[in-house]
Amino acid sequence: MLHIKCPHCGMRSQNEFAYGGDATVKRPELNKEVSDQDWDNFIYNRKSLRGKHKELWHHISGCRQWIKVERDTATHEIFKTVKANEEI
């Protein structure tokens, strides 16, 4: 089982979290011209890296805050967790 250190609550079990996917994906800026390609990249296309992967998790059965986690997708080692509004 993964143990994820919530930046707000401390070390918690994976059971308390919901996964939110790639944290590096950026929504195209509002009120600007958006190409189909930009939109595809935001909605569908993913790198799905093997190794270090920056991702979102939702502490849904805890403080209910979204957080960012850097995790190895092959070994599941967690390197770093930060608040959602911080850079990882």
Binding site: N15, Y19, Y44, R46, L49
Partner: protein, 418 residues
């Protein structure tokens, strides 16, 4: 090639089965091929087989990083079905069902195809309505579908929980009687043996390290066992799709996720069919050895680990016990995991790409095994003719751009949310 039959079996019995031919050779890669298939799983092996059989292209190599049958083709729960509602999925899968029925004779290899029927349980009136609709759609496409009421389901699977105080009572089910299972290893070995006999080189323990692309055209592939000149490459590497896409500077609507399966200790025959739980994601069948073969949800986060995590397994088996309480008495024999290439609408991609000579086969999500023959057949057509077949027209890569999604399961852009 040595033909397998009762006579060859008897003949070889006299020499204590010491003189059987090797099922496939272990060649060193040549300098040049007409087609290179990357990925020696079920789909890759079937593609090479149909390239040779249907299109007479035999100067083909299959490059496999590990070994034949070591990936998802040896890790799945062996379920074969075509109970889809959308035309694209239904016609493609039903074409595959025909190939499954003929496969043992076609390959001269007993794949133990067992059309035992799949039963999708319904747990509410609304779900019965949905299943009736899906069943009707299936029948319009020539696929067998039977809507069962509670009593009829009870006749077939009396060991399921039909008591009054369950959280998810069984209202009925949709059954596809022609669905079933097959011996998954035999499928890989059967395709490998036939492909090899027609001149395909199966190159194992050979990792792709890069591609030679000049002016937007494939010129070759670089591997751990030397460079190979080739004009056409078929990529069907399932869970490793994103890794190879990165080497091609492509970003695809696919993510790698882990799916677990497990088997119980072997018990006497108790379950004749494949049964799925309708109030969650759990499916079960009984293998010929007597083990209960079970699976369900993804672990839920990007993973290349090929091994699972307990919370998901516990969640899946909780559903199993809710459906068939006797399962709680069984001991678990093995659990394992495989890496799924989860596409963003839950349907696969079999298409050409913007790189000339590069063909893509990926995004099989939970349903790769059953698709092996149809996927191999259509992918071989796509590569040989340099155009998609009518059967895989709907599985285009551009559908994510044009909005023609095949969201059969209604899971939207995140198939791993369930």
């Amino acid at each position: 090639m040595q033909k397998y039959s009762i006579f060859s079996l008897i003949k070889n019995a006299f020499s204590n089965h010491q003189n059987w031919d090797l099922a496939w050779k272990d060649p060193t890669p040549k300098k040049e091929y007409d087609v290179v298939i990357i990925g020696g799983g079920g789909h890759g092996l079937a593609t090479a087989y149909y390239l040779a059989k249907e299109h007479n292209i035999t100067n083909v190599a299959i490059i496999e990083k590990g070994w034949i049958g070591g990936g998802n083709v040896g890790r799945n729960t062996t379920i074969i079905r075509s109970n889809f509602m959308y035309d694209e999925n239904a016609l493609f899968s039903e074409f595959g069902m025909d190939l499954w029925r003929k496969m043992s004779q076609d390959l001269n290899y007993n794949v133990m195809f067992s059309p035992r029927g799949i039963i999708n349980l319904a747990h509410s009136d609304a779900q019965m309505n949905i299943y009736a609709r899906r069943g009707n759609s299936m029948r319009l496409n020539g696929i067998d579908a039977v809507l069962l009421n509670r009593e009829e389901v009870k006749e077939i699977i009396p060991m399921a929980d039909f008591s009054d105080n369950v959280r998810f009572p069984i209202f009925g089910a949709l059954m596809q009687p022609s669905a079933g299972t097959a011996r998954h290893d035999a499928v890989a070995w059967g395709y490998a043996r036939q492909a090899d006999s027609m001149g395909v080189d199966i190159i194992q323990n050979c990792e792709v390290t890069g591609f030679d692309i000049v002016g937007g055209k494939i010129q070759g592939v670089r591997t751990s066992r030397g460079d190979i000149k080739v004009k056409k490459i078929g990529l069907c590497v399932a869970g490793s799709t994103n890794i190879l896409a990165e080497k091609l500077n492509m970003t695809l609507p696919v993510e790698a996720h882990l799916l677990q399966a497990c088997v119980s200790e072997p018990v006497k025959p108790v379950l004749d069919n494949v049964v799925t739980f309708g109030a969650g994601h759990f499916y079960i069948s009984q293998s010929d050895k007597g083990e209960m073969v079970m699976g369900g949800d993804l672990d839920g986060y990007n993973s290349y680990a090929q091994r699972g995590n307990l919370p998901t397994l516990q969640h899946v088996l909780t559903e199993g016990i809710a459906m068939m309480p006797f399962l709680s008495k069984l001991k678990m024999l093995r659990t394992w995991g495989g890496i799924m290439d989860m596409s963003m609408d839950g349907s696969p991609i079999i298409d050409k790409t913007h790189i000339e000579g590069l063909y893509l086969n990926c995004g099989w999500c939970y349903g790769g095994f059953k698709a092996i023959p149809a996927s191999g057949w259509t992918f071989a057509h796509t590569i040989a003719q340099d155009r998609v077949h009518k059967l895989n027209e709907g599985y285009s890569l551009s559908r994510f751009n044009t909005g023609h999604l095949l969201d059969e399961k209604g899971l939207g852009t995140k198939t791993w949310i369930s």
